[in-house]
């Protein structure tokens, strides 16, 4: 028996020389919605948009309709899908975003292949497959900072230290809104020993990070949150640029070559409306995933997942007898340090960090909660 079905219908006709009228309908077991979009053919631009709910879930779903206007004026091209997902999917409703993308992609195909017109902006690709935003080639320009609250290397007398191993900066991670200068100031304020720059598929250059450390007198460590076929991996010690998806087994080989370290990030990050428990997944079943044989540690405190998901990851790690870490996964300045990792040895640089990771003398910590930091 069919457990779920979704049908989408798109029809397009030309209303004048430069405009198309698109009607889209999405009907599935849960939702039914419609869109009427006017699309400018020469620029692949959304000129107007109207939405209608026929069936929905929460009593507040109708609030989504006015936010559809956020998409008016958007042109297809670089990052179009991401913009629709952010502007319509997050502010209005993701099912409207899905239908709008279906309508616009169909319109683009009609313009390019049925009408056969050349469109300047359409040549740059549009989703479902789009180019990634460009990554910065060097460190973000930040104002010189005078506050020096963290001891310099020479003055440090730690018997251990707490480091946030998982932090994202803007613009290196397109999903982050946290500038590096703000993160450093906040990390100093809350007393974090250091944090790791783990932007998505991006490794900061050594020179840029050294310049920032000098400027702010604060320890920064480099990592990379690499996207693999088995999810996100926090990688340390690997200089090689990996800026696109890689299979975990290949990544493992690369990391082995440089004696680096891999931590699987948020391994049980789940779904919005149901948890892993509701699927009937048990730690015993979950630990059989092949990925755990290819990583060195498991992130069991992550600031972007639920308590249950973190607890589940911890149970799996315990069952496997694997080392565990914590990291905020900060995408906003005030998120840094929510979770972190306590190292028993002093970490002064990336070499120390790698050694400490390989020694296994570390543990996850709910840093802000433990210290009562707001």
């Amino acid at each position: 028996m069919i457990k779920f079905m979704r049908n989408k219908l798109v029809r397009i006709h030309q209303i004048d020389k430069d405009h198309l009228e698109i009607h889209g309908m999405l009907a599935d077991d849960i939702y039914e919605l419609e869109l009427d979009v006017v699309f400018k053919k020469s620029t692949l631009e959304i000129v107007s948009i109207e939405g209608r709910w026929n069936r929905w879930t929460t009593p507040e779903c109708p609030r989504a309709i006015p936010f559809l206007q956020e998409a008016v004026g958007l042109r297809m091209g670089k990052d179009f899908s991401e913009k629709v997902k952010k502007m319509v999917g997050r502010k209005s409703c993701r099912h409207y975003a899905n239908l709008l993308l279906e309508c616009c992609h169909a319109a683009r195909e009609a313009v390019l292949h049925v009408i056969g017109e050349k469109v300047e902006t359409a040549q740059h690709g549009s989703s479902p497959a789009e180019e990634k935003p460009e990554k910065p080639s060097k460190a973000v320009e930040v104002p010189k900072e005078e506050i020096r609250t963290t001891p310099t290397k020479a003055k440090q007398r730690f018997s251990g230290c707490i480091i946030d191993l998982h932090v994202h900066t803007t613009p290196a991670s397109p999903c982050s809104s946290a500038p590096i200068d703000g993160l450093i100031a906040e990390a100093k304020r809350i007393g974090l020993h250091a944090f790791c720059l783990t932007d998505h598929d991006y490794t900061w250059s050594k020179a840029d990070v050294e310049a920032l450390m000098e400027q702010y007198n604060y320890l920064l460590l480099r990592g990379n949150e690499v996207t693999t076929d088995q999810g996100h991996m926090l990688v340390f010690g690997l200089e090689k640029k990996i800026d696109r998806l890689i299979r975990l087994e290949e990544l493992r080989e690369e990391v082995n070559r440089v004696k680096g370290f891999i931590i699987v990030a948020h391994p049980f990050r789940g779904f919005l409306t149901f948890g892993v428990g509701q699927l009937g997944l048990t730690p015993d079943k979950a630990k059989e995933r092949a990925l755990f044989k290819r990583v060195d540690a498991i992130e069991v405190l992550n600031g972007k997942v639920t308590k249950k998901e973190n607890a589940f990851a911890r149970e799996v790690a315990q069952s496997l007898g694997m080392p565990t870490t914590g990291g905020s996964d900060a995408h906003e300045v005030d998120e840094i340090g929510q979770f972190a990792t306590r190292f028993e040895s002093l970490i002064r640089d990336e070499k120390d960090l790698l050694e400490a990771l390989h020694d296994g003398a570390f543990s996850p910590v709910a840093y802000k909660e433990e210290r009562g930091i707001k």
């Binding site: 028996m1 069919i2 457990k3 779920f4 079905m5 979704r6 049908n7 989408k8 798109v10 029809r11 397009i12 006709h13 030309q14 209303i15 004048d16 599935d28 077991d29 849960i30 879930t57 929460t58 009593p59 507040e60 779903c61 609030r63 989504a64 936010f67 997050r90 502010k91 209005s92 409703c93 279906e102 195909e109 009609a110 292949h113 049925v114 009408i115 989703s127 479902p128 497959a129 789009e130 996207t227 076929d229 088995q230 999810g231 696109r244 998806l245 990050r269 789940g270 779904f271 409306t273 948890g275 892993v276 997944l281 995933r289 092949a290 972007k304 997942v305 639920t306 998120e335 929510q338």
Partner: protein, 165 residues
Amino acid sequence: MPDILIFSRIRSTFVEHVEENRLRAVCQLNDTLTEATVEVLVKIPELEIVDAKAGIVRAVSRPKEDETQLAKKVIGIRIGPGMKKIIRGLIGEGDETKQLAFMIEECCNAVILSFTKDVLLQRPEDKRGKRDFYRNMVKENIRLYNRCAAFAPGSPLVEGIEPPT
């Protein structure tokens, strides 16, 4: 302009239980330019893709590789957050493969929605019960907060709920 359609599309995606621990998701596309089918077999509760196949009958541009061989690249991945980036990374982001990648994504979305449907079937139908049901959903998973208009600040469904830090 004549009131004649220049383009028409229907995309149908469904999910069915084929064995006790297997779901089969199928996405069928038929439009003015393309006719294609993608099928994905998913192991539950792990939500791991254990098989995939694809067939393209008509298309403006076809993948250079055999479409089923291409689809099989997603075997082993887990359906969940971040999967779109993984699917596109494995299948490719060129014009000739983007439709195939999107159809796999649609299959995966449908699998997730099939579980969402199970959750929604437990929802009370009275006004207050309904409201409490969704409020609890947000409390249980704070990632829902401000995720869409219904759960945005100002909505009664999130009134009094602390936003995530």
